[in-house]
């Protein structure tokens, strides 16, 4: 259940069943409490009814459906025995809180919408969709021209939604997976741009002579403009195609909107253009008397041309902001070379199936995700992870589609194809993020929801003022009071258009999330983007996040004539057969150092203490203090060094060779390369940094000290991590949790912002508001930084958009006229409106040049 109508539907339909006295559905708890007479209706019937409505019914708690049935029967039968009667049943059923927990079947669809021009269109479509029964949520993006709708298919279908949108004067089409293909998207954009450029050019070509003819009296114009261009009939002939050609879209849009009781930018423009055109036509064909000698065709023509210019420029900048998605789509390989029946063949990438063996030669693009089965090469993964250094790939390694094979031939088995590939998942996440809204957008939504009507009211007030008061107080000649008031009123209508307000937030989100995606940072929506700017504390999980999660040898201290490599060789040889992670770390280090290990004999593991073994006929004891004491090994002051190493969070082990202390080997989980840098940068941003770990306090503090972390939450069990995050939140702090997207999922979900780190390729499985594809903690800083810059950009954009309207409306209303005899013409108002949306768009595009 996602909306009030789901609740109402269930209550209504179940309530209509014979024998049901009462049903109360809680949307928050996803529960339905039903009071009923079991003689007349069974729980199964109630469940079936709910299921038929498109919801799922499960018993409360962890019991199965049968258990629920049994429990209900027991309670009701018992009650019936106590005393029959419907009322008794009702009381008992209510007391026993017969609960049906249900989960709605909610589908999500994306619709492509054409014809939107401003924030009011967005508000109008969202309101219409949200008011439909069964629609849980609807988010419309003006720059993307898309609507994402969550709905219950049992209550509403796509066709009904499309009709509702169409009724408002827009066109809507459902987007399929194929629609998101790069070629189709590009073709659609190109067609749209072509029409915008065509209509603007058409309008401009006809408007120039209109402008020249109308301004023929001006000093420069009268030198070259022929007198016939001044003819009202010529101006009429030039203007009419502009109004009925490209200008018709405003009238059609306004009519469709009005038909459904809604007002949008089209209405503003239609009122302005229509009023000046009709006035001019009347002046041309009828003798209206003094004050009405001059037509205003240039106002109608230029107004149309400037608005079309604005729409064209807006489409161009909009195309630039969605470049990130197009770039991602363009990464997809078109073909793949696969081996079938022992033969290599080239097929379309869509035809590759899971399990196919794919061959990729040097320089070629890897078509789908898979696991290398043969070959060795380095692969450029920068397009997915943002990491510029190629990664070596050998048998058993995972490879990601859309990356480029550099120098060797690779054979791999396809594991994920089509919409399951890492690239497809990334595109989906970025698309969803770009269409989502940041909470700050509520200001814009509230503003634009009622703005158009407010502007018309304001235009009416301005008209009244100048008609009754202004025209008699201030000289408005040569115009009549009506004409002066009319053009002031039109200027108010045109200059107030909220098109910049509608672009301010979504464009910035598109650029911000797109820039982040290029760096391998997937921000899952506007809410995450805004949330990341308000953080107080960043909590890092220790193992696997701050540290590599694998123990490694950190110190080798040799005494009594032994040297480091020899000591390490003896220790590693003794541990050869060990399966303990500390032993493995010692063996790995010895192998890395190229030491020749000897096979041990008489290997004995002493649990909790260490090991003993013979290496090259020498007895080796490797372990803790207790083991050394038991074996009566004199440690020659090594205890102090051991304490020192322990305080650094390391695990030191004594080594005795032939019953004589030979030194210490210390092992620790080492920090990742950029952990300290990331923490330092977070401090620079003014954030508190905490570490959460199951380790003991001493080890935890030692690690925290190395990276410069302020707060340590040690000895926290994995299942308690979410509680620790909650405790921080209860202190009034906004918390980000950085950890593994799968193991730390509860803590990530609890945090205000969950940042899943180093997820590799299966990004869709990740919990977290932000997913970092590569294992680099500096991306935590980058994601906060990109969020802050995007939010700043949104604030700047909203400021400029509101500033233009706030400053423009009084100017349009003629506030300057009493002082300097200046009034904004409708066509100048249109230019100001174009400048407003252009400045917002360019300000957003500027962000694309910034680095994070």
């Amino acid at each position: 259940m996602h909306c009030e109508s789901c609740k109402k539907i269930i209550e209504m339909k179940v309530g209509e069943l014979d024998g049901v006295f009462e049903i109360s559905v809680s949307r928050e708890a996803e529960e339905a409490t039903v009071t009923f007479n079991p003689d007349l209706v069974s729980t199964k019937k109630i469940s079936d009814e709910i299921i038929s409505l498109g919801y799922q019914v499960t018993p409360d708690g962890h019991a199965g459906a049968g258990a629920l049935e049994e429990a209900l029967d027991e309670r009701q039968t018992g009650e019936t025995n106590d005393g029959p009667g419907n009322l008794r049943h009702k009381e008992v059923a209510t007391k026993s809180e017969t609960v049906l927990a249900e989960k709605a079947i909610i589908e999500k669809s994306t619709l492509r919408i054409s014809g939107m021009s401003c924030a009011s269109c967005v508000a109008k479509i969202e309101t219409a969709l949200k008011s439909m029964d069964g629609v849980a949520s609807a988010v419309v993006s003006l720059p993307l021209e898309k609507a994402t709708v969550e709905y219950s298919p049992a209550s509403v279908d796509i066709a009904a939604m499309k009709k509702a949108i169409k009724d408002l004067g827009y066109s809507a089409a459902e987007m399929s997976d194929e629609d998101s293909g790069e070629d189709r998207e590009r073709a659609r954009r190109r067609k749209e741009m072509w029409w915008k450029v065509f209509w603007f050019s058409f309008s401009l070509v006809l408007s120039i002579p209109v402008m020249l003819g109308s301004f023929q009296d001006f000093p420069v114009f009268n030198t070259f403009v022929p007198p016939w261009m001044r003819s009202n009939y010529f101006l009429f002939a030039m203007t009419t195609p502009v109004i009925f050609g490209p200008g018709a879209q405003f009238f059609i849009g306004a009519y469709k909107g009005l038909k459904h009781g809604t007002a949008d930018m089209n209405l503003l423009m239609a009122t302005g253009i229509g009023a000046s055109y009709i006035m001019s036509v009347l002046v041309t064909f009828f003798s209206l008397g003094p004050g009405y000698e001059r037509p205003y065709f240039e106002t109608a023509a230029l107004l149309t041309t400037f608005i079309l210019l604005g729409r064209m420029l807006e489409a161009i900048t909009r195309g630039k902001t969605s470049e990130a998605i197009r770039k991602l789509m363009g990464l997809q390989a078109k073909t793949a070379r696969i081996v079938r029946d022992g033969e290599e063949m080239e097929v379309l990438v869509e035809e590759v199936q899971v399990g196919d063996i794919v061959v990729v030669r040097p320089g070629e693009k890897i078509p789908v995700d898979g696991v290398v089965v043969d070959g060795y090469s380095s692969v450029d993964e920068s397009m997915i992870t943002g990491e510029s250094i190629p990664v070596e790939k050998k048998k058993g390694d995972e490879i990601v589609g859309a990356t480029i094979n550099k120098n060797g031939t690779l054979k791999f088995e396809a594991t994920r194809v089509g919409k399951d590939t890492a690239l497809a998942q990334i595109i989906k996440i970025v698309e969803e993020a770009q269409i989502s809204k940041a909470p700050i957008q509520r200001i814009a939504d509230k503003f634009s929801g009622h703005f158009i009507v407010a502007v018309h009211a304001l235009a009416l007030v301005a008209f009244f003022f100048w008609f009754f008061i202004g025209s008699s107080l201030f000289d408005v000649a040569p115009q009549t009071p009506f004409l002066f008031s009319l053009f002031v009123s039109i200027a108010v209508l045109v200059i107030s258009c909220p098109c910049a307000v509608g672009l301010a937030t979504p464009m910035a989100i598109m650029v911000g999330t797109g820039k982040a995606a290029e760096k391998g940072i997937l921000i899952k929506g506007g809410e995450a983007l805004e949330g990341a700017c308000k953080l107080d504390v960043v909590v890092f999980d220790k193992t696997g996040t701050l540290t590599k999660g694998e123990p490694a040898v950190t110190d080798v201290i040799a005494i009594n004539g032994f040297d480091g490599p020899e000591l390490l060789r003896l220790a590693a040889s003794a541990e050869w057969a060990s399966e303990h992670s500390l032993g493995e770390a010692i063996v790995n280090r010895a192998k890395e150092d190229g030491l020749a290990l000897s096979e041990p004999s008489d290997f004995t593991a002493i649990p909790g203490h260490g090991i003993t073994a013979s290496v090259d006929e020498r007895s080796v004891i490797l372990g803790n203090l207790k083991l050394m004491t038991d074996r009566k090994v004199s440690l020659n002051g090594l205890e102090e060094r051991v304490t020192e190493l322990s305080e650094q969070g390391k695990t030191p082990m004594f080594i005795a060779v032939d019953e004589t202390a030979a030194g210490i080997v210390a092992v620790a989980d080492t920090l990742k390369d950029y952990s300290a840098d990331a923490v330092k940068e977070l401090h620079r941003l003014g954030l508190e940094v905490a570490m959460i770990t199951g380790d003991n306090a001493r080890t935890a503090k030692a690690i925290a000290k190395q990276v410069g972390i302020d707060r340590v939450l040690a000895e926290v069990l994995p299942e308690d991590k979410a509680n620790e995050v909650r405790k921080l939140q209860e202190q009034g702090k906004k918390v980000a949790m950085v950890g593994d997207g799968i193991n730390d999922a509860p803590a990530l979900a609890q945090a205000d912002i969950g940042i899943a780190l180093g997820s590799g390729t299966d990004v869709a499985k990740e919990t977290g508001d932000i997913v970092l594809i590569k294992d680099d903690l500096r991306d935590v800083v980058a994601s906060i930084s990109v969020s802050k810059k995007t939010l700043n950009k949104i604030k700047q954009n909203l400021f400029w958009a509101f500033f233009y309207n706030t400053a423009g409306i009084p100017m349009g209303a003629g506030i300057l006229y009493p002082f300097v005899k200046f009034v904004v013409n409708p066509e100048v108002a249109a230019l100001a409106m174009v400048t407003s949306s252009l400045s917002v768009s360019l300000n957003t595009l500027w962000m694309k040049r910034r680095t994070f």
């Binding site: 009005l258 809604t262 009416l460 008209f463 008699s472 009506f482």
Partner: protein
């Protein structure tokens, strides 16, 4: 039922606009400083703008008064 309500709201909007336009016309005529054409043209413009405003404002107000039903 819904259609009747919609029609009622529309009639309400139209009535409000007509009342405003007539008031405008009477006031402009009473002041006596405007030409006939100015008054006629202005009245038409006022009617159009006030219809746009009232058609957007009055139906929700009526709905609110009826308790959102």
């Amino acid at each position: 039922m819904a259609e009747i309500k919609t029609r009622g709201a529309l009639l309400g909007s139209l009535a409000a606009s007509v009342v405003l336009t007539i008031s405008f016309y009477l006031l402009a005529t009473a002041l006596g400083r405007y030409g006939k054409l100015d008054i006629y043209m202005a009245s038409i413009y006022v009617l159009v703008l006030s219809m746009i405003v009232s058609a957007s404002v009055i139906p929700p107000l009526l709905k609110k008064r009826q308790g959102g039903s």
